[in-house]
Amino acid sequence: MTEAMTEAMTEAGDADLAFEETGTYVPDVAGTERQIEALLFAAAEPLSAADLAARLPAGSDVGRALALLRQRYEGRGVELVCVADRWRFSTAADLAFLMTEEREESRRLSKAAMETLAIIAYHQPMTRAEIEQVRGVGLSKGTLDLLLEIGWVRMRGRRRSPGRPVTYGTTDAFLAHFGLGSLSDLPGVAEMRVAGLLDMNIPADFSVPDPSKVVGEEDPLGEDETDAPEFHQDFLE
């Protein structure tokens, strides 16, 4: 337990205003922590720091109070998590086995739908044609429809390219479902980006093996990929 936390706990329940040297009243952080705890517990939906600030006395240090609160609930049966930039209490994942009565019938996505979802999540914004390009196979009618219907995918806008195709992206509901704070929390996204795997075309510095190896046995890949044709066009369309 940290020093700050112990201190906060002994002060818990003391929501009085502290008188600071400046002469202005500033809500004390232990009181703010308590108030945030109550607000988040009572809320039906996750709340952003801005939502909280709007409902708390002016001058409340929401950021610090949230940090303290998160620490306080660490390892408890209920935990404070931040998803899609919003804060919520939710039960600890390791206690899932107890929750049989609360569990909803899970919507089992097809492999195609799951793949489409992942491609959109990691590459967004993505057009339908781009999704098909990554999968190497056409997207059946129901797949995108289903993801839109569930509310995990949304139409984002239009690509500034010929035909101005609609682009798709994921929603906050998607982040909330998988407990992600933001898109940068997608598992492995940083590594994939560094490796160039989230580019649509093979990156110029894409690591390719030495072409001087035995042709036909080991990888005979070339070094400059600048004008490599789009392979998918040869068999997809």
Partner: protein, 273 residues
């Protein structure tokens, strides 16, 4: 050609694809498309996807497609085109580099690198799926407050409709409308006055209290039959006739307000036993 790879193939995908039930899935032992099959083959080599031997991969792919074809006559064109492509690519890679002018297909090594890149990309997405699925999911592994506290609501309405809903509503209604417009039975019909009169007499016993004309007038069923306007107009005409006959009463509170109809109460003498 080596056959040793085959028993180790992961056929779990077959079961997964079958449950999809999607009409357009090209299902060759559960591999949705050539890339998926190539990826599965490349994985069995247990090597870095960037260092796979395209030549070996081509052999395996061809063998698989050959096998699958024996069992399933109609094999998707995609698979065959890819097979032809790989065979071609392999031949190009095996030939010594010559000062042959580049053709439209480009440098085979570039194309092979492109293929390796695409497989690595698809594989990364496969791993992403597993990683996502492994995360605690809301309402299955973690739960929000089951009984959110009643908050005194000073409600301000926010509409949650989104663009998809809007476009969907439009498409659905236009599709419906298109069907209606193009239905050969669709033609303009009027609600005959006789029919309106007959109907009004039939429901006369139920009209013992004031009822609005808009409620009494029949509603069009589906896309056929007279329009609503015709139903209302004919019912009104028939109603006015019956008012004249003395069996109905009509009443309107002000101009443009709803018109109400009621059966005229029977004379006391007739009602008495």
């Amino acid at each position: 050609m080596s056959q040793s790879w085959q028993p180790s193939l992961d056929f779990e995908a077959a079961a997964n694809a079958a449950e999809d039930g999607e009409a357009l899935v090209i299902d060759v032992d559960g591999f949705e498309g050539p890339l998926h099959l190539l990826l599965a083959l490349a994985r069995t080599q247990k090597v870095d996807l960037l260092k796979i031997s395209i030549a070996k991969l081509a052999d395996q792919y061809l063998a698989f497609v050959h096998q699958a074809r024996r069992r399933r006559f109609s094999l998707a064109a995609d698979y065959l085109v890819m097979a032809a492509w790989l065979a071609y690519l392999k031949s190009r890679l095996l030939l010594p580099k010559k000062a042959r002018p580049e053709d439209a297909a480009g440098d085979p090594e570039d194309v092979a690198a492109q293929l390796a890149f695409r497989l690595a990309k698809l594989d990364a997405m496969r791993k992403a799926i597993e990683a996502l699925k492994a995360r605690p999911q809301l309402r299955q592994d973690v739960f929000m407050r089951g009984d959110p506290q009643a908050v005194t609501v000073h409600s301000t309405t926010r509409f949650s409709d989104d663009l998809f809903g809007l476009v969907k509503a439009y498409a659905q209604q236009r599709t419906r409308e298109a069907g209606r417009t193009y239905a050969p039975t669709s033609r303009v019909e009027a609600f005959p006055l006789e029919a309106a009169r007959h109907r009004l007499r039939e429901i006369l016993p139920e009209l013992d209290t004031w009822a609005s004309l808009s409620v009494i007038a029949p509603h069009p069923t589906g896309g056929e039959g007279p329009s609503r306007a015709s139903y209302v107009a004919s019912t009104l005409s028939a109603g006015l006739e019956m008012v004249k006959e003395g069996v109905l009463e009509a009443r309107q509170l002000e101009a443009f307000a709803d018109l109400y109809l009621r059966a005229r109460p029977a004379p006391v003498a007739e009602a008495a036993p």
